[in-house]
Symmetry: C2
Subunit: 145 residues, 2 copies
Amino acid sequence: MKLENPTGTALYSIEKAIKEYRKLAQKNITKVVKDITIDQCLVLIILNDNQNISQKELANLVFKDNASITRMIELMVKKQYLNRTIHLEDRRKFNLEITNKGITTLELMKPVIKINRKTALDGLSLEEIALLNKTLNKIIANCKK
Amino acid sequence: MKLENPTGTALYSIEKAIKEYRKLAQKNITKVVKDITIDQCLVLIILNDNQNISQKELANLVFKDNASITRMIELMVKKQYLNRTIHLEDRRKFNLEITNKGITTLELMKPVIKINRKTALDGLSLEEIALLNKTLNKIIANCKK
DNA sequence: GAAATTATATTGATATATCAATTATATTTG
DNA sequence: CAAATATAATTGATATATCAATATAATTTC
């Protein structure tokens, strides 16, 4: 039995790598903030950098569909990480805004996120990482065709 | 706004790559078999190669926890892709067995799976793929520490 | 060999994923 | 400008993810 990679394709390794990273990341983030998931964390990071983003754009960036992001946002509003107000120019849209609690929480998580990434990529040279990115981008482009 | 990679880390690219691949794979598999997911497909592939595997081992190989695999198997039994019988030597366990329908379905999907993988890895040299695997395995090992 | 521990799997609760259908608003077209 | 089309987001249904608690069986320990 091929224990590490039962399919024998690099695509399995890609999935395994991200699953292991998510496990590590979630474990460490939970240590500092109890009620947040790494996906919610990514939402905060992206909203922090991109004020005027729509739910649809946000969904794309965090790899979710509109339905999922709707429910995630609902929950994050309920937990007071986000505010949601109607978009004046296009009333189909909403403005998404991080609350003060959201910002505080993000600041609390930032060092943990940094350590997580460092841990995952430990021992990899810059060249190796660049090559990894390049290869992954090729795969992404191939799948989108 | 960094559109392709808002976090600037290779880990985001890893996630993006596998998500794009899963989309492609699911789309093409649905064309030949309506009621199966790529995860169920992976379960069939693994069970086909490993007769005497426990649910726990299976769960590990497909990156799921025991609860998820229990429900997946229930569903696959209901859809008649699998049979489940009590394990005589260890009565906590079950024997998982692909049905004839499961085997037929798998044969139907095999060429599609092959094409999907080829599509995703198109234009990558063997060396590039080997290096990708090597780097990913380092990341996997780092996360497990 | 009975009690304590460990292992396998299930169940319940809640969140998320996904698809299809729907609602509300904007935009385009004739 | 009204009708048709397109877009943003929501809702419903069902499957899956995840954690904690539980049930059952096997193994270990004394």
